[in-house]
Symmetry: C2
């Protein structure tokens, strides 16, 4: 392992994060009152990033021209995510951002006569909170521990902007990663269906870089367009850009406790977000083809069709059962369509914005949303989860296996869109991926059930019997990078009341899910760090 | 597909079942009062078996000497299980066996002055009940819809004996099946570790038949021995044989509503059952080696070691968390050890006897028992579940895959007990099996949540919020052939209050799990029934 080269690259990433952090600084000034604490926290964090980035670069400078082998590349990706989590947590800690404040019996924050929140009543974020929030941002999960987001005395606006910026950076990172590194392996290529932008089939270094730039450009452009539209629809520029970051990265951080439900009076806003969530969950290769005027490539794509079909079927199911079983008594059929579709798209694309309390829905709706968490977006999107294409292949593989049980000698090829997939490893890779998700899900669930004290439920008057299912949805919502789950972490709740250990488990799961498992898992294999190739 | 040959073999099996049914007839006479309804039901069922068996044999007689190909063998196994379920349900229906009777506010059965239960108050089993109960017996699940088992006016003793006999037959069937048919495939052989009784390695037809007879003999002998011991320990001969059937088949049908907890005052009884459940969950090849005086083969076996290790670790966990979190307040530490160990062994071997209400345990204990359901017994035992050896291989395979992520060119062989497993298909087979279990579990869960009305919970004052987790445990408890689950089907409850559709789903799942998925799944592939080989 060429550690110097790894450090050099990590140093570059550290500088990049520090630079991105500086963009949040202006928001300390444009609010009603100057946010000195937020500014101080952000500014100090930027300085720390520059210093540590410089240090890392200095340490590894002599190796900067060495060849980047597979192991080093994996180490850089894995460690950069760890590093980003720690750096991203600094502004929360250094600014003294508060998770919540003491509340009275009716659940309102206790204030003095001028509406201020007494210092001694404020509950600052601890280290686990900050790491959780930072990782939730970078992994585009959108789970939060902040219980009074809209209160500037507890959460400075500039810090809130940084929080949403981590979504933007995380989403950008995924776009680049997919093309530049993860898309290199044979299985990765098959998952991307060898359809990089451009008509030729050669996949050299220049092509990869070119594609990464194109994707980053489309991604940034879509963020800008969505910000503009939301601004025109009545949001402030601050809210518009934060929600655009949350949408295009399929993140889900909002600037209000009610999430996107804050803008319930304006159906244009959630329709717009719905559309862009849908786009963000698509393979960006297809978005590229669509934008250059070739929509047929998108319409003929197997994964895209599967993605649309699952969204449609799930929405119909949720609307039907929701309407007939009285989940939308006040909102009627139109409301069922509006909120049902939104929640299905929000959960399946792993965004996690909320406009309706789906935790109070009927069991079918709740169960279906739980399963949709594992479906996720398309390969090559910013969405999390297992990805649609893996599910399509998974069920095709199982069907072929059932046929093989009585025809052991007949080997049928695996086909996508009628074309056989040549890659023999793909079949194996898909099964391994599902198996790993299963193993990680089950072990994390039992671990969480064990370490999380019962008081997390009893103190909030949640039924303790729900601990098993709540923990299952919490693991799923973090591993698949959604955000909200069921019960104690339901649509109207958050992760603030979990223990230190619970939050660290979630932080780990978000990272694991975001990087599609392997990159994080290999860091724990001793042989990975040994020198031989 | 040579249907005539299939019918001929099914006819033989039908006669066999009819014959076995006749053994329950004497129990109609040995009770306090002659059970004419039970006798009538059983006798008519025996006649129907003989008639239909004769018919099937007659139909297929001309093809009786044809070669049995793989497809026909699979069809016979799958269809014989369907047939057995239907035939086994006849005595329940024809005898008018009752699921329950009208109860007063305190939950007691309403009786007339002589202690009789008025005819109009009795709730007879419907067709779904009878199929469920029959399949639960043959698949050695032990889930029941009978709410007043110990009440002879509702459940005739001879019918109860038939119910437990189905466990014996099911267990015997599995022993024979494993050796004679399912153990033939390469993956099947690898799972049985090529260690058929006897020192030579040739695996001809005679060897297979020989092994099947040996296994059947050991199985029947153990049933007899256990019956004797339980009888000596104070059970009646009736109870002793029924519980022996339930134990050795890892079934779990009892003759009391409190299950084995009825004999709580006598710790010898549950210690004996504990030991024999442990043996029943072992590979019968190892039991054979042990009985002929070669215990070292057992002690050195990887799967056996894994089996013991999981049981020990799980017991320690359940005892520790159960004791420290107050699940055994009345029973103390000794009680925690007694009941904790019993429940762990009972659930993991997929027997499902109950001596303690584990549904009221802490979340760790409940969650762990849920996971143990999927572990199951060893390959070549009567236990259900995924089997210990598959789990050991599963985790080894995943570990190798993580290593392969950074060393793609290095292919490490899969080893059991240090010896590489040559069979290249085994790795694939294990992953496919876990994937199929996952897919079936998830789809059945959502289906059950959808079709089962909420009143199944609300009518019994169970929290509706528990529907998701209760349904998950119900699917697991039937697919893995355990019996009890959590919540509304918890240790002190049963499946009586589920709907027709729910019970039919469970019946299907028990069958599917018992035959290790493939044999039942292929029946639904149209190509399976076509004539070409």
């Amino acid at each position: 392992m060429n550690l110097r080269l790894v450090f050099y690259l990590l140093g570059l990433i550290t500088l990049l994060i520090g630079g991105a952090m500086a963009f949040s600084l202006p928001w300390a000034f444009v609010q009603d009152s100057y946010e000195w604490k937020g500014f101080f926290g952000l500014f100090t964090s930027v300085i720390l990033c520059l210093l540590s980035g410089g240090g890392l670069i200095g340490w590894g400078f002599s190796s900067r021209m060495d060849t980047l082998y597979r192991k080093e590349a994996m180490a850089v990706v894995g460690l950069s995510w760890v590093l980003a989590t720690i750096l991203g947590a600094l502004p929360f800690l250094l600014s003294g951002t508060c998770r919540d404040a003491v509340r009275d019996e009716s659940g309102e924050i206790v204030r003095d006569t001028q509406g201020g929140i007494p210092m001694e009543n404020r509950i600052p974020m601890n280290m686990a909170d900050a790491l959780f929030e930072s990782q939730s941002g970078f992994s585009t999960t959108g789970a939060t521990v902040l219980t009074a987001i809209a209160e500037p005395q507890l959460v400075p606006r500039c810090i809130l902007f940084w929080r949403s910026s981590t979504h933007f950076l995380g989403g950008l990172g995924i776009m680049v990663l997919f093309v530049a590194i993860l898309g290199q392996g044979s299985a990765g290529k098959a998952l991307m269906r060898n359809e990089m932008p451009g008509p030729t089939k050669e996949t050299g270094h220049a092509r990869t870089q070119d594609a990464a730039w194109k994707f980053a450009f489309i991604y940034a452009g879509m963020n800008a367009v969505l910000t503009g539209i939301l601004w025109l629809e009545g949001m402030t520029l601050f809210d518009a850009s934060c929600h655009a970051f949350g949408t295009m990265a399929t993140g889900g951080f909002s600037t209000y406790d009610a999430s996107l439900g804050h803008f319930d009076a304006n159906p244009w806003i959630d329709s717009t977000v719905l559309l862009f969530m849908f786009i963000a969950g698509m393979n960006f290769t297809l978005v590229y083809w669509f934008l250059i005027g070739q929509p047929m490539i998108m319409l003929k794509d197997t994964e895209w069709r599967g993605y649309v079909a699952i969204l449609l079927l799930a929405s119909i199911g949720v609307i039907f059962f929701g309407y007939t079983r009285g989940d939308f008594k006040e909102e009627g059929l139109l409301g069922a369509i509006r909120y049902g579709t939104f929640q299905v798209v929000s959960v399946m694309t792993t965004t996690g914005f909320g406009t309706h309390d789906f935790d109070s829905w009927n069991s079918f709706g709740r169960g279906l949303l739980f399963l949709l968490m594992f479906v996720g977006g398309c390969a090559g999107s910013t969405g999390g989860g297992i990805k649609v294409i893996r599910h399509l292949l998974f069920f095709k593989i199982l069907w072929l296996e059932i046929e093989k049980a009585f025809h052991p000698s007949v080997v049928r090829p695996l086909r996508i869109s009628g074309k056989p997939v040549e890659d023999q490893q793909l079949r194996h890779h898909i099964l391994v991926y599902f198996s790993l998700v299963l193993a990680i899900f089950v072990m994390s669930w039992l671990l969480l059930v064990t370490v999380e004290p019962s008081t997390t439920w009893t103190a909030k008057e949640d039924p303790l019997q729900n601990k098993l299912i709540d923990c299952a949805t919490a693991v799923s919502a973090t591993l698949n990078n959604i955000g909200p789950g069921l019960g104690t972490i339901g649509a109207t709740r958050n992760y603030a009341h979990f223990s230190w250990w619970g939050k660290l488990i979630f932080t780990w799961l978000m990272m694991l899910g975001r990087l599609e498992l392997f990159v994080m898992l290999v860091l724990f294999v001793p042989a990975f760090w040994r020198n031989q190739m």
